[in-house]
């Protein structure tokens, strides 16, 4: 059952708008013309939730959507399984537009294509861990024996063996979210929506759960949409990151893009607080190999973080490190000065 899924279901969000209020259709043209959020609220009594969102989420990767509270990130993730209906726009999942689905096909879509993990866990308090975990399959009408087999497997994988018969109330927050994760995984859907899944957890447990997710993702290869307000979490988990502010996407890209080339002051301000050593890769700071350069000492692999290079250089400050590709061919060189420069942001 745990065969590595070959997942080809990506998510494509196009020109998505969400306006809250009594008659969103009436003010929609104004919003498309670019009326400001405050003007819309004060003059027309509508609240702008999302404006012209375009994100392409690759199949089998983790797409992080980051933003502060009120940025519209939780609204956005709820559009993917249409817990919230958009005002305009398209959400293509595996080529099918979720917005156009009728009630029954939407229900089938939710049962078989998506699973969701919630910030406040949202477990059924009257059901044991095992009974919570089977919920998705139970709703699908899968035979009971199959439900239990699958549920036990994932309970074990998230590290909850022995707690099958406990009630959510008897578990700590971190353990409750493991149940939430097991419930979503048991659903065996290609898409996993995680709405601030770890925000309610203590920092240490949060890091722990991030590791659990990254380890699992190596084999499950699901298309994961992960919402967070924490940039460190975003950088750690995200294959791609989109940053949301006031209902608009302000920057999209890999963690390298975000840290090294912040699109504006707003993002630069966030990035300032980040531990760059753990994010920036050596590829971004290495110099081209000088002709006749003789590699000395053990090289570092491409894709390593500058932390790794720094640890090496701290022992022998005068050394020139060689960066090599997977096959061992030299790609560039690193000096202590270059690595040190990469670890502090321009502001300092």
């Amino acid at each position: 059952m745990a065969e590595p899924a070959t997942n080809d279901i990506g998510i494509e969000i196009r020109n998505l708008y969400k306006i809250f209020g009594s008659n969103p259709a009436a003010v929609a043209p104004l919003v498309r013309q670019g009326i400001s959020k405050t003007e819309l609220r004060d003059k027309h009594g509508h609240v702008l939730g999302l404006r012209d969102i375009n994100i392409s989420m690759p199949a089998g990767g983790i797409q992080v959507i980051m933003g502060l509270s009120g940025s519209g990130k939780s609204t956005l993730i709820r559009h993917i399984n249409r817990l919230i209906d958009p005002t305009m726009g398209e959400i293509l999942v595996g080529g099918e537009d979720v917005v156009k689905m009728d009630r029954l096909s939407l229900r089938q879509f939710r049962r078989h294509k998506t699973a969701m993990v919630f910030q406040k866990f949202a477990l059924l308090p009257h059901r044991s861990v095992l009974e919570n975990t089977v919920y998705g399959l139970e709703v699908q009408g899968v035979p009971r024996a199959k439900q239990l087999e699958s549920a036990r497997h994932w309970i074990d994988r998230v590290g909850l063996s022995g707690f099958e018969n406990s009630y959510p109330n008897q578990l700590s927050g971190g353990m409750q979210q493991r149940v939430g994760l097991a419930r979503a995984l048991t659903n065996d859907a290609p898409i996993m929506l995680m709405d601030e899944a770890y925000s309610a957890l203590d920092p240490l447990i949060r890091t722990d759960m991030q590791t659990v997710l990254l380890d699992l993702q190596k084999e499950i290869r699901k298309t994961i949409v992960f919402i967070t307000h924490d940039l460190d979490e975003a950088l750690r988990l995200g294959d791609r990151i989109a940053i949301l502010r006031d209902g608009e996407v302000v920057q999209q890209g890999t963690s390298q893009d975000i840290v090294l080339r912040p699109a504006d002051d707003y993002i630069a301000n966030f990035v300032k607080e980040v531990n760059r050593g753990r994010v920036v890769q050596v590829d971004a700071v290495m110099q081209p190999v000088a002709p006749g350069h003789q590699p000395v000492g053990e090289p570092v692999r491409t894709g390593s973080t500058v932390d790794v290079a720094m640890a090496r250089l701290a022992k022998e400050p005068d050394q020139v490190l060689t960066v090599v590709c997977e096959e061992g061919r030299p790609l560039g060189t690193l000096t202590l000065a270059a690595v040190a420069r990469a670890m502090v942001s321009d502001e300092h």
Binding site: R110, R111, A115, F118, A122, P125, Y135, G136
Partner: protein, 295 residues
């Protein structure tokens, strides 16, 4: 200035005619539909007689053991079982066993009817604010209208006996069942409902797996209230021919038999306490999963 000191009311003839027209109309309705309505409630009458015979024809020690067993399985507390048995023994010793069984059978049927009608109404009410705004005033009327007032049309339609008694009791006792079902379902955590939606639950699956289980403690409180209110109606129901502990009380009022009234009154209190403790203990046991909290 006469109108200032004396409220200008409808003239006497018109008022008399109005009342007469309504009365005649209702009498017509009774003549035309009485038989049909009686036939409609016939299954209810049979159920009542069946339950009553079952309780009366079963030897008393057997009934006692069954009730004690129910008390044990609902509450799992020895104190409640012992209290139940002692109360019932005292009732029997003071020669009120038969009347008590009649009253208990009446209460059982009334509660069953109240649940069968009240639960679906409460659920529908929770789903629609419009329906809630229609039903709420009706429930207010049912709870505040003096029961004698609706006894009149009930008796005109169905005569005197068990069925009109059940109707009168159910009208009086069903509002808490409906209100608390509605409230319980409306109070279900929105996050959990959203999760149920996200996993693609149909509305029936949501009702069965999430809403009713989470509302159950509140619904149980409604059932408990319904039983208590049904017991409070026993004496009034006896006025329209419902047999049981109410009739001796009625006789005691008419003839000023203080002790007769007191004994039967205490018997009603006794079974009220039994019903209350058992149903509450059962309600608490349903929430066992909430007790053990992570430290």
């Amino acid at each position: 200035m006469d109108w200032f000191w004396k409220f200008p009311h409808m003239n006497d003839d018109s008022l008399r005619n109005l009342k007469k027209t309504i009365d005649d109309g209702f009498r017509e309705f009774t003549r035309a539909w009485g038989g049909g309505i009686e036939a409609f409630f016939d299954p209810l009458r049979r159920l009542l007689i069946f339950v009553e015979r079952l309780l009366l024809n079963t030897p008393w020690p057997l009934v006692l053991v069954v009730i004690a067993a129910i008390a044990w399985f609902a509450s799992r507390r020895l104190s409640i079982v012992i209290g139940t048995v002692i109360t019932l023994l005292l009732i029997g010793y003071f020669d009120m066993w038969e009347d008590t069984m009649r009253t208990v059978s009446m209460i059982l049927v009334c509660t069953a009817v109240a649940i069968a009608v009240g639960l679906p109404v409460g659920i529908m009410m929770a789903r629609s604010n419009k329906l809630q705004s229609i039903i709420n005033p009706i429930l207010d009327v049912m709870q505040t209208m003096p029961s004698f007032v609706y006894l009149i049309p009930v008796v005109m339609l169905l005569g005197i006996g068990r069925v009109p008694g059940v109707l009168a009791v159910v009208i009086y006792a069903i509002p808490p069942m409906i209100r608390l079902t509605n409230l319980g379902i409306r109070l279900v955590d929105r996050d959990v409902l959203e999760a149920a939606d996200a996993f693609g639950s149909s509305s029936w699956q949501k009702l069965r797996n999430v809403q009713i289980p989470l509302a159950l403690p509140t619904i149980m409180a409604g059932i408990n209230q319904t039983i208590m209110m049904a017991l409070a109606m026993v004496v009034i129901a006896s006025m329209i021919g419902v047999q049981g502990l109410g009739q001796p009380v009625l006789r005691a009022i008419n003839n000023q038999y203080f002790t007769l009234g007191l004994f039967n009154g205490l018997a009603i209190v006794g079974i009220a306490i039994i019903f209350d403790r058992i149903s509450q203990a059962y309600g608490r046991r349903l929430q066992k999963h909430l007790e053990a909290v992570h430290g």
